[in-house]
Symmetry: C2
Subunit: 116 residues, 2 copies
DNA sequence: TCAACTAGTTTGTAGTGCAAACCTATTTGT
DNA sequence: ACAAATAGGTTTGCACTACAAACTAGTTGA
């Protein structure tokens, strides 16, 4: 039961969100009002450069907002997700759910579990 | 409740599978023993060239097998998923499930339930 | 003063996805 | 018989992307 889950929907996935690094960023942002650049750098494991460029793309796409200020005398960059960002993320999640229905479940043929 | 669903797992996603076009191909292959190139071309909506190159990558990665033969006098290319391909797909699905737990659900601001 | 650190941005490059052009053989039209 | 069209793909060319290395600008410590 449940809908067939049209797998061709996978082709409609938002590439801006689909990129793992950016999806991670959005997911983290969705759970807080304001997130510091440095914090994101640590939880994501991304290099500063990489993070910076993904940040710019998300900002250019209107999915996040970037606020630059100072803490004491040092620069501080903070990110927050926009309403459009939340929508994009929720939409992406919905599509993922649809897509997952088109992928056969773990199959679980034997009891062994191997991972690498 | 339910496990926290470590969102950083998103960084470990298999890029060979993560690409929408290839995920679609794998999903289709997982539901049949042997699939014709032309059929795949139609259901995916991919151009022949694009399909061909994704096919090559999946083959190079050992996720599918490509069998070339003739039907009557015309060339016929058929694809089938390998055991490694099935494992990769199942593994990807598992990771996706984990990742989805890290993405906030549809937000459901009101009580309405929308399905489409 | 000068080295080292903080907080990011810009640059360079290898790799990717995509469609257009191409290829070879077969079939159809005249 | 010969040209044009079609089938079934592959190769090429290009615009774009993710990533790390190199860079910039200000700050703190010695």
């Amino acid at each position: 039961m449940s809908t067939p889950g049209d797998i061709t929907e996978v082709m409609a996935l938002d590439r801006l969100v689909h990129e793992p690094a950016r999806l991670l960023i959005l997911a983290v942002l969705s759970g807080a009002k304001l997130v510091e650049f440095g914090f994101l750098e640590q939880v994501s494991g991304l290099s500063k450069g990489n993070l910076s460029s993904h940040m710019s793309k998300l900002e250019a796409g209107g999915l996040i907002e970037v606020k630059k200020s100072f803490r004491g005398k040092r620069p501080l960059t903070e990110l927050c997700i926009t309403p459009a960002g939340r929508r994009a993320l929720a939409n992406y999640r919905r599509q993922l759910a649809t897509v997952m229905q088109g992928i056969p479940a773990p199959a679980a043929p034997t009891k062994r579990r191997r991972e690498e």
